[in-house]
Amino acid sequence: MCPLCYCQRCITDKAIPRWIESSSHQRGNFAWNIVRAFHLSARCTGCGECDRACPMDIPLSLINRRMAMEAKKSFSYVSGRSLETPTLVGSFNEKDSDELFM
């Protein structure tokens, strides 16, 4: 449903090597959600489709909104403001602040 999920083959479908465990335990679920959160950080358009599609009504977009907050706080970056500004994750630099990591 997500307009910004564009991978030809989802990382969850890649089994050799297995990046994300298929078990629905905490580790498997966490791995998936952290990958998604980082890929969509400061890119999510806020359409809310993930919330609407979730059969268990999990408010998934909260994760993306939180990531947008972090992007603004740590890097003064707001997605969609300018075509010229490089994307946040795409312009990763080793010297970037890592204060947002726990």
Binding site: M1, D13, E21, S23, S24, R52, A53, P55, D57
Partner: protein, 336 residues
């Protein structure tokens, strides 16, 4: 049939006793069947919408280890899992949920007897509750069930008025379970509960399952499948919320080079990886083939193999589908 009358207060006293004894008491909530901590959480409302998931995960968990392994230099040691066979009492299950275990039982005891499933199932007591809810997605009457079906229940409840239930003892297991509480039971009058069950509004019969069976046998290559395949996102939520979908995958999870565990995880036939061979060939390489498999498995193959339809008509798959695919509509169109 053995029919009694029980008041709601007395029923809750029994529940209190069950919890006090340390047994797990499950009851349907909005999202799922949850373990009751306090009897005030119990809502015996026959008109409630079915919970978004069934209690399938209590007999067939989403993810569970089946063995642990340890590797040493020239040996592999396998460590068995002790299955947790504790008593689980399910109170207020809808008829579309109660027969789910009896349908799945065939599969888990077919070519191989699944000890995990069997041990858990043995410790289940299912107390069904007549259902007076129905919406556009319900179709239990089309798959041979009904909102007043006792199939799969050990004990079946019918609300007579706000404070009283007719209690029908269906199985020996149910009889044994309720015997210690016989002081709460009053002698019932079947005519009274019959009046209630006869007045329940039934979901209309949307299709004839025998006709669907015949059509599926003759229309494996029908262009209808392509249309559905183009719609479906292959997220497999339909399989995960289904009370009878039972496909699983076995994967090994290494903790380190020397030890790990073998997991049994829910899988779904709508995933492309489900039938992907090691060679790279995939016999169900496109979505239309996967959806065709889903319908055929439920309404033809399972009938061939075990004589039952692999569907309880609960409509959960349609309610939850992000692209509004309605299985009732699709199966109703399985005709020329």
């Amino acid at each position: 049939m053995d029919e009694k009358i029980i008041s709601k207060d007395d029923l809750l006293k029994i529940c209190q006793d069950i919890i006090g004894k340390g047994h797990t008491l499950l009851t349907p909530g909005m999202n799922e069947y949850f373990p009751v901590k306090d009897v005030s959480q119990i809502n015996l409302d026959a008109s409630a919408l079915p919970a978004k998931t069934s209690y399938k995960s209590y007999v067939f968990p989403r993810s569970e280890p089946v063995l642990y392994y340890k590797r040493s230099k020239d040996d592999v040691q396998l460590i068995d899992i002790n299955v947790d066979g504790k008593n689980i009492i399910i109170l207020g299950a809808k008829p579309c949920d109660t027969n789910s275990i009896s349908i799945m039982r065939h599969l888990f005891n077919w070519d191989y007897s699944d000890e995990f499933f069997n041990l858990r199932e043995k410790h289940f007591i299912i107390i069904g509750l007549m259902c007076s809810h129905y919406d556009e997605y319900c179709f239990c009457t089309s798959v041979g069930s009904s909102p007043v079906s006792e199939k799969g229940s050990d004990i079946f409840l019918i609300p007579l008025d706000e404070n009283n239930f007719a209690l029908r003892i269906i199985t020996e297991k149910g009889k044994e379970f309720i015997e210690p509480y016989s002081e709460y039971l009053k002698t019932g009058d079947e005519s009274h509960s019959k009046q209630v069950t006869e007045n329940v509004k039934l979901p209309e019969v949307a299709f004839d399952s025998k006709e669907v069976y015949e059509w599926l046998g003759n229309n494996f290559e029908s262009p209808k499948w392509e249309g559905i395949g183009n719609l479906c996102l292959s997220c497999a939520q339909c399989a995960f919320v289904c009370p009878v979908c039972h496909c699983f995958d076995i994967v090994d999870e290494d903790y380190s080079y020397s030890e790990g565990r073998r997991m049994k995880n829910w899988d779904g036939c709508q995933f492309g990886n489900f039938t992907l061979h090691a060679s790279g060939h995939n016999p169900r390489d496109i979505q239309s083939k996967r959806y065709r498999q889903r319908v055929n498995h439920k309404f033809r193959y399972y009938v061939d193999k075990f004589g039952e339809i692999l569907c309880t008509g609960c409509g959960r798959c349609s309610r939850g589908c992000p692209v509004s695919i309605d299985i009732k509509e699709i199966v109703s169109n399985c005709k020329d």
